[in-house]
Assembly symmetry: C2
Homo-oligomer: 330 residues x 2
DNA sequence: CTCCTAACTGTAAACGATTACAGTTTGAAA
DNA sequence: TTTCAAACTGTAATCGTTTACAGTTAGGAG
């Protein structure tokens, strides 16, 4: 494996000159020609560890989230990737955490100069996570609910207002008994959507009982199906909001099997507006949380912060958007 | 930012001793105690670039593929992640390539000691890709069709036999006029599925005309919908095979809108058996290409190769599995 | 108490790049 | 031809680790 020294020798110049040619600083035409020839000759590739050690930069930005299986995160990744591809930073992903421990382990390796910036969207809210993030010496952009007292760039979607829109829309289309099939309350989205749902129902004087919130143990179709199956009497509701589209898809599957008509017997709304929403039958009304856009914003915040390390941190809020489809027709 | 030297000073030992404690070599109990105390005191984290430079290892394995939007790759990632999480290697992902140029750029950075191993699943077959891979000095596991003359570890699913199964199943359930809504033929899967489809039809003496293969320009529901919309006379077919489940979902959507019954008028089969298949209505019969399992196999091949660099390369073939659902009922 | 081995520890040389700084060339102007 | 500034080039220090090697220490055996 050729090093810069080998190239220098082959070209008959100093390693400083090779370095300058590689990094685009000025050099005499003849020098440059010889260096380039030697580089091709030897198949030289600069060693990135050595470079990173010297310049204290890895040219990498890490995007991490908890659940690659959720298409909303895939959209977010697309947004981030799109913005970063026109910068000189490489995007690397780190995902599929199964536990808070893994997140912690991951955050620790972030402290080792492994990336120049971290865009993170944690769904679990554990005090350790906030504390580790605050100790990180690299810029962090947090996508999602900002933990108390953490001062980093943040992009956040007003999911409470999304729930609000969903309830509003259901009421407008004549529904009054609304249930929420919620994701785990150990997660931020789970907790916040639950709270927002309760507020929205109370604000309108709608019935809210213990049974109005049905807890699923994951944000997946299977979990949605299982959760709704456990419900004694689905018929007493005329509308269901899924904690996300996948949960809603599980509910829809159950209703189909039990011959419960959507939207005739029960209206159904999902959250995230992933591709699946328009493929289901009936097509699924959904609250679009603009994941791709949030990814773009996060990436831009990161680039801005990297270029300008001392600016005060920014918090950006994105407004959700109601996408009406068949599952809530009157 | 604390370095090993600062820790050594604080603990009153040499940097060699600190290094030994950190890396788990033997040390006197008292030494170890003092070093650990200093580490916690200073919040020391070893610099990974310096370590990588010295030991010529990054402890990272890179997984790259072209389309994160395809849930099959997400499954594959899960398989890889699962295996790697019990090793000391970190998994990093690199995806969302929009062009062969980007893949090439990416492969070049792989040559810089950025990862210790590369698991790659390229869908485009470009001679440059094969040539770059063969020049890489790190172990490579290729998931998918192995380019001519490239001698690396490989895991490959016999998709021809999958198509075979699909046709067989359709014939058994009484269909004889079968169309394929294929993904782009600029991709390996697109090309191979087309060829396998033609062979299967010819082998059975079934009608195969120019119209039997409908080319979509991506492996997405929208592309499937668009492709099938362009077809003059869908009615002359009694079965459609989608190049993947997402293409099939697009076809299903179209059929629903045009009041074409599935499976009554047309039987439909997808490929990949992603979650979506069981959420659609009717549920979608699909050829399971065992993406998660292929990911596991690939990761194990990689670990094995890393432990044993000189063994001859292995090629492993996975058999697809037909999952029968409603969309092909007689 | 002396000796000896085993266990530990420290010194210093790498790893492969970047970059001040000082020295050398170049070429136009006088 | 000489002069001088601008442009280029080379030397050597440095980034933060690991590790061979040599030196030290500990503690049991004699």
């Amino acid at each position: 494996m050729a090093t810069i020294g080998a190239v220098a020798k082959q070209a008959g110049v100093s390693i400083a000159s090779v370095s300058r040619v590689v990094n685009g600083t000025t050099a005499r035409a003849e020098t440059e020609r010889r260096v380039r020839a030697a580089i091709i000759d030897l198949g030289y590739q600069p060693n990135s560890a050595a470079r990173a050690l010297k310049v204290r930069k890895s040219e990498q930005i890490c995007l991490s989230f908890d659940d690659l299986g959720n298409p909303a995160y895939v959209s977010m990744t697309r947004g981030v990737g799109h913005v970063l591809s026109s910068s000189h930073y490489r995007l690397i992903l780190s995902s599929a955490f199964s536990s808070v421990e893994e997140i912690v382990k991951h955050l620790e390796t972030m402290g080792r100069g492994f990336a120049d910036g971290l865009i993170i969207s944690p769904i679990y809210s554990d005090p350790r996570i906030a504390s580790l993030i605050s100790r990180l010496r690299i810029p962090v952009v947090l996508v999602g609910t900002l933990p108390e007292g953490l001062d980093v760039d943040n992009v956040h979607v007003d999911s409470a207002s999304g729930i609000e829109m969903a309830v509003e829309h259901l009421v407008e289309t004549g529904r009054t008994n609304i249930a929420l099939v919620n994701g785990p309350v150990t997660t931020n989205p789970g907790r916040r959507r639950k709270a927002a749902f309760e507020r929205a129902l109370i604000a309108r004087g709608l019935t809210l009982t213990d049974e109005s919130i049905i807890q699923a143990d994951a944000f997946s179709p299977e979990a949605g199906y299982a959760a709704i199956s456990n419900l004694k009497d689905l018929k007493k509701f005329d509308a269901v909001i899924g904690g996300n589209d996948q949960l809603a898809a599980g509910v829809m599957k159950f209703c189909f099997e039990k011959n419960i008509g959507i939207p005739s017997d029960i209206a159904l709304i999902g959250i995230d507006n992933i591709d699946l929403a328009s493929l289901l039958r009936p097509t699924l009304t959904s609250i679009d949380l603009r994941a791709e856009e949030r990814g773009e914003i996060a990436a831009n915040l990161m680039l801005d912060r990297l270029a300008n390390p001392d600016r005060p941190s920014k918090q950006i809020t994105v407004e959700p958007k109601l996408v009406i489809r068949e599952s809530t027709a009157s």
